[in-house]
């Protein structure tokens, strides 16, 4: 995959927010990270640690206080459709049908849709029958698939996912994890997944980045050496899980000195 696109390079990223009374709160501190084109990487960390902020920086919705993010050698300066973003809330435009939501991006840029593209992505996300439905008629899982399709139809090289399955029930969640895997394989794009769910991170990603509590720093980067497609019953799964729990200081509080009530 020498010519594959979607290689990300985060160099010395810092971000501070004003706290409203003249002081600033550091949210991200000196984040350095290389993500290979076509890779699947997850960000894990305590709630509110700033991993979502990092994702928003990568999307271009916020600007870093320091440092640069490069995508295929080009510095990120504002949002671009080559970096698709999906939030925890699907945020479908309620006044448009599923189909209308999907074609929003290409139409907004004044592009003609290639023939069959819409149908392809409806099919890929299993929404063909619901193309004329309005968002309020969709279940949570379907709405999230429509949000995915809406991002994918722009042929992004990077897909940024901000806890996209966080609001779904456990059952739908596991189904959607399989769909995410399928989509990643089919589209060969770089996926960055912010999640709270350790199992989800292990099940899907090649590498898991564990962050410290705020200000977020990279605590550790774990390679997940399991081959795809993965099974949730794999015993190695539990070893990895324990390792991550330990990194997050979430194993038994008696054994660990500092217990973080963050999740």
């Amino acid at each position: 995959m020498a010519d594959a696109k979607g290689c990300l390079s985060l160099q010395r990223i810092t971000k501070v927010f004003p706290n409203g009374s003249g002081q600033t709160i550091p949210v991200l501190q000196d984040i350095n990270l290389e993500i290979r084109a076509g890779g699947f990487i997850s960000f894990l960390g305590p709630s509110g640690c700033g991993k979502s902020t990092l994702l928003r920086l990568m999307a271009g919705l916020e600007t870093a206080t320091g440092g640069v993010i490069y995508v295929d050698g080009e510095a990120v300066q504002g949002p671009h459709y080559s970096r698709g973003l999906v939030f925890q809330d699907p945020n479908l435009f309620p006044w448009l049908t599923v189909e209308g939501n999907l074609v929003f991006g290409p139409r907004a840029r004044g592009n003609e849709l290639e023939k069959g593209i819409l149908e392809y992505f409806l099919e890929l996300t299993g929404l063909t029958e619901f193309r004329r439905a309005f968002p309020h008629q969709l279940s949570g899982g379907m709405a999230q698939r429509a949000a995915l399709a809406r991002a994918l139809i722009n042929r992004p090289v990077v897909l940024l996912l901000d806890e996209p399955l966080g609001a779904l029930d456990a059952f739908t969640r596991m189904q959607m994890q399989d769909e995410l895997y399928r989509i990643w394989r089919a589209q060969q794009i770089t996926v960055v997944l912010v999640t709270h769910d350790i199992d989800e991170a292990i099940y899907l990603s090649e590498r898991v980045v564990v962050f410290t509590p705020r200000p977020a720093r990279i605590k550790s980067i774990l390679d997940i050496p399991l081959s795809y497609p993965r099974s949730r019953e794999n015993p190695d799964f539990f070893l990895l899980r324990n390792e991550i729990l330990k990194l997050l200081n979430l194993s038994r509080p008696e054994e660990e000195g500092e217990f973080v009530y963050a999740i």
Binding site: A59, G60, L61, G78, P79, H80, Y81, R83, G84, L85, F87, D89, N91, F93, P94, W95, L96, T97, F104, G105, A108, R109, F130, A133, F134, P135, H136, Q137, L138, S139, G141, M142, R150, A151, N154, T172
Partner: protein, 276 residues
């Protein structure tokens, strides 16, 4: 697997629906119709029958119907004049309100410059401007259009403004990551998202326009239903007053339902969410 409430209509079911719907509707309305008949009967009894209510203030239903028919020429003309004034005034006010509301909701400078104007002028009831309008404009027709425009301008502006300013930020962020520029963000995201609020403004604007229309016609304009009522009252022809009131009630409620219909059609995506 995740079923939703998608309606499927077959042509056959649509054909028979007319009758299926008509009968239950008649049955539902039957008590209301009966009550109306009884009410008119009692009224007739109190006026024409027993002469318990003082004349000329309380004519019987037959007299009113008779006047409605006899004076149909002037009543028709008055209705047309009222409608013309209302249509032009409301249109001017609504367009102005949409423009001002969009400028205020979308641009910082729009809010900065227009907000004082809105705060200062908006709450003053339009009829209070009548003396000024009559001197500022060459004729009472233009003056009335100004007044009607002013009265619908205020609510339309306020609700368009708050609708646009209150658009869910996530919609705008999503649109930006999909490649939308400023124009698309305003026209294809902010305005559609603000439509429910804008429609509330359109309703309120229409209601206020009715009030201003009648006041303006009673005070200055020499035509229209408001003028007709004033004129008939001057001659103590209360049967005419009631006749004009009935026409007004029918006219205004029809206009309101027209906007309701428009909203239901345009905001079909909201079905199930609208509570009013």
């Amino acid at each position: 697997m995740e079923a939703t409430s998608l309606k499927t209509k077959t042509p056959a079911s649509r054909k028979s629906r007319g009758w299926d719907k008509f009968f239950p509707r008649c049955r539902r309305l039957l008590p209301l119709i009966l009550a109306l008949v009884v009410l008119i009967g009692v009224w007739n009894l109190l006026t024409t029958g027993l002469r318990l209510l003082p004349l000329p203030y309380f004519p019987g239903p037959r007299e009113i119907l008779y006047e409605l028919w006899r004076d149909r020429g002037l009543l028709g003309l008055s209705t047309v004049y009222s409608l013309r004034l209302l249509a032009i005034g409301y249109l001017v006010g609504t367009l102005g309100g949409l423009a001002a509301g969009i400028l205020m909701g979308w641009f910082k400078w729009g809010e900065y410059w227009l907000q004082p104007l809105l705060r200062f002028i908006g709450p003053v009831p339009a009829p209070a401007w009548i003396p000024l309008a009559m001197t500022l404009f060459p004729n009472s027709f233009l003056a009335s259009i100004f007044l009607l425009g002013l009265s619908s301008w205020f609510p339309v502006t306020i609700l368009t403004w708050s609708g646009i300013a209150g658009v869910n930020k996530s919609y705008l962020e999503v649109a930006r990551t999909l490649g939308a520029g400023d124009r698309v963000l305003l026209l294809r995201v902010a305005i559609p998202a603000a439509l429910p609020s804008i429609f509330v403004g359109l309703f309120m604007g229409l209601g206020l326009s009715f009030a201003t229309l009648v006041v303006a016609e009673m005070l200055g304009v020499k035509a229209g239903l408001g003028w007709y009522i004033q004129w008939a009252q001057g001659w103590a022809e209360y049967d005419k007053v009631y006749g004009a009131l009935i026409i007004m009630a029918l006219l205004f409620s029809t206009l309101l339902s027209v906007i309701f219909r428009c909203r239901d059609r345009i905001l079909a995506w909201q079905r199930g969410l609208i509570k009013w």
